[in-house]
């Protein structure tokens, strides 16, 4: 008998089995006459009203069953929220832990998104190439070189910075003027700064090759070099984000799981009683899933708040930094997608954590 109930049809059979268990139990299925008599004393006409719904088990209409289920869910949702609010300090601690933990990868992800915007921003990639001239090139030669360079169609602009000018600038920006004055001569070479008219990587690299062959150029440096480094950093950051996210997700699952585990322990008696009067595993599980849901949701919202605060704190300095790199880039506020992802992800992880930790535990409470 038990063998043929296993296998893929197990679920259907389970339902069938339950139904038949309910309906074949006795010949006279209800005792309404007695009930009507006893309750009519106090309730008058109401007791005479036709008993709809579960009067004969299993005859609840389809719509009625859905509406019952909906009301049950609403009630459980409300009750678990009330339970959570009944211990505000403890709940707040859990929510804080969740929020802060989730904020780590969220903030990192936001940073990376913004860095990617920077890396892809054409305004910044407009490549500047600095030609460091050989020492023996005189200022006059250098000016002539600049004129020649301007004839190249690939070059939009060229500026000559003489060693003296360079020294003045260096003194101004580095604050190392005193140290430089100790030197006998100006160690800085003359520099021609060239701006490429086409900033695509290929054009820049072609131009670079041409400029390398120009006489008198000792070294040349492409200013967009830092963009490549940035790209590399972003790629690395992506990897770190993935790893960190996995770890944080695990941590969140564990935190929610542990909290729910304690809830289950505290409500052991209740679960026992509910099971004794015929509550299924799913029925006792549901309130805990809702607890996990609320924890996760609150954690997600808190995480969003933290990220938003971080953004407010960082966006000003970040814009300033971008200005230093001649970029019009402005850090982007966490958008709707990010918001939904954070809050929805939080809630999802809350439910998963609750499910993982309480399922086994609830099954083991076996009166």
């Amino acid at each position: 008998m038990s063998q043929d109930r296993t296998g893929p049809r197990r679920n259907e059979m389970g339902r069938e089995g339950k139904k038949s268990a309910v309906t074949t139990w006795r010949k006279t299925p209800h005792v309404d006459a007695a009930a009507a008599r006893t309750s009519s004393k106090s309730q008058g006409k109401k007791a005479e009203a036709p008993r709809k719904g579960a009067a004969k088990n299993g005859k609840v209409s389809e719509a009625g069953r859905w509406s019952n289920l909906w009301r049950l869910h609403r009630q459980f949702g409300r009750e678990s929220l009330q339970r959570l609010l009944a211990t505000p300090a403890a709940s707040l601690m859990t929510v804080l832990v969740l929020g802060i933990a989730l904020a780590l990868p969220a903030a990192l992800s936001l940073t990376l998104e913004n860095l990617k915007t920077v890396a892809g921003n054409s305004n910044v990639t407009s490549a500047r190439i600095s030609l460091y001239l050989e020492n023996q090139v005189s200022e006059k030669d250098a000016r002539r070189m600049r004129e020649d360079l301007l004839k190249d169609s690939g070059i939009a602009a060229a500026v000559y910075i003489s060693p003296t000018q360079g020294l003045a600038e260096f003194e101004k920006y580095s604050g190392l003027g005193d140290a430089l004055r100790l030197l006998d001569s100006n160690p800085l070479p003359g520099v021609i700064e060239v701006e490429a008219s086409d900033s695509s990587p290929l054009a820049v690299s072609n131009l670079q090759n041409r400029l390398k062959r120009v006489d008198g150029v000792a070294e040349l440096r492409v200013d967009s070099e830092w963009l490549k480094k940035l790209n590399a950093i972003v790629t690395l950051g992506d990897r770190i984000l993935t790893g960190l996210s996995v770890l944080i997700c695990l941590a969140v699952l564990l935190v929610v799981g542990n909290t729910i585990r304690l809830l289950v322990v505290n409500r052991r008696d209740e679960i026992r009683v509910i099971k004794l009067v015929g509550g299924s595993d799913g029925f006792v599980l549901l309130p805990f899933l809702y607890s996990g849901f609320w924890y996760g949701l609150a954690g997600g919202v808190l995480c969003w708040l933290i990220v938003a605060c971080l953004w407010l704190a960082v966006s000003g300095p970040a814009s300033d930094l971008a200005t230093l790199y001649q970029s019009t880039f402005r850090p982007e506020f966490p958008g709707l997608n990010m918001t939904l992802l954070l809050i929805g992800g939080g809630a999802f992880m809350g439910v998963s954590g609750a499910l993982l930790s309480s399922w086994r535990q609830l099954r083991d409470i076996d009166p």
């Binding site: 008993r51 026992r272 015929g278």
Partner: protein, 227 residues
């Protein structure tokens, strides 16, 4: 309805709870289970509602061999068995009303129906005016009656009661027993564990007597209830 075949129950500590019990209760029968405390009355009731499993032998309830019932079917079994527990098993974090409503909630009864049924059950045990109170503020006897209301609220096919009148005064005990009889007449199989022998004799139903885990008197199945 309830069949025990060579059922024994030994506890892990070696104590013998029940030994070789053979018992047959017909559908719609009412019986008392008597014996000294420790004779195995509670153990026997626990085996019927699968709170415990026998070490040997077979228990059948409502046509089901309990040993072959899958885990998922246990709730359905319990929904058909109303139980009045000796220690009430009430929940103190909710009102009397909500306590009585639990069996209806778990069985998926219509929400609008629950209030009506719960009040009918509370009215039956005379506690309609206490529905909003917490069971903690009730006396032992009142808690017992809340337990009875909860056992009967979903009109189970089988009613098990473990010392249901232990804390009640004689008048109320008699009244509750009358209620049980009433349900029995409506087709419910009733098994009541008690050591109130006076009451048992007055009621004049089948009496099953246990002594140290053994069946002493199985009693005769009453004629009217034979299947």
């Amino acid at each position: 309805m309830i069949i025990f075949e060579n059922v024994s129950k030994r506890f892990p500590n070696g104590h013998v709870g029940l030994e070789n019990i053979n018992l047959h209760m017909a559908r719609g029968e009412m019986a008392f289970l008597t014996g000294h405390s420790g004779a195995g009355k509670s153990t026997l009731l626990k085996l019927i509602m699968l709170m415990d499993r026998p070490s040997n032998g077979q228990v059948q309830v409502g046509g089901y061999r309990l040993s072959q019932l899958r885990r998922g079917q246990i709730p359905a079994l319990r929904r058909n068995i109303g139980v009045v527990f000796q220690d009430h098993q009430l929940l103190f974090d909710r009102s009397v009303f909500d306590n009585v409503a639990i069996p209806l909630m778990v069985a998926g009864f219509d929400f609008d129906d629950i209030g009506r049924r719960v009040r009918a059950a509370l009215d039956m045990v005379g506690l309609l005016d206490r529905e909003k109170l917490n069971p903690l503020s009730l006396s032992g006897g009142e808690r017992q009656r809340v337990g009875i209301a909860r056992a009967l609220v979903n009109r189970p096919a089988v009613l098990l009661a473990d010392e249901p009148t232990g804390n009640l005064d004689p008048d109320l005990s008699a009244d509750i027993m009358k209620r049980f009889e009433h349900f029995n007449q409506a087709g419910v199989t009733v098994l009541i564990a008690t050591h109130d022998l006076d009451l048992v004799q007055r009621m004049g139903h089948r009496t099953i007597r246990l002594e140290r885990g053994r069946l002493v008197t199985a009693g005769a199945t009453t004629g009217e209830a034979v299947e």
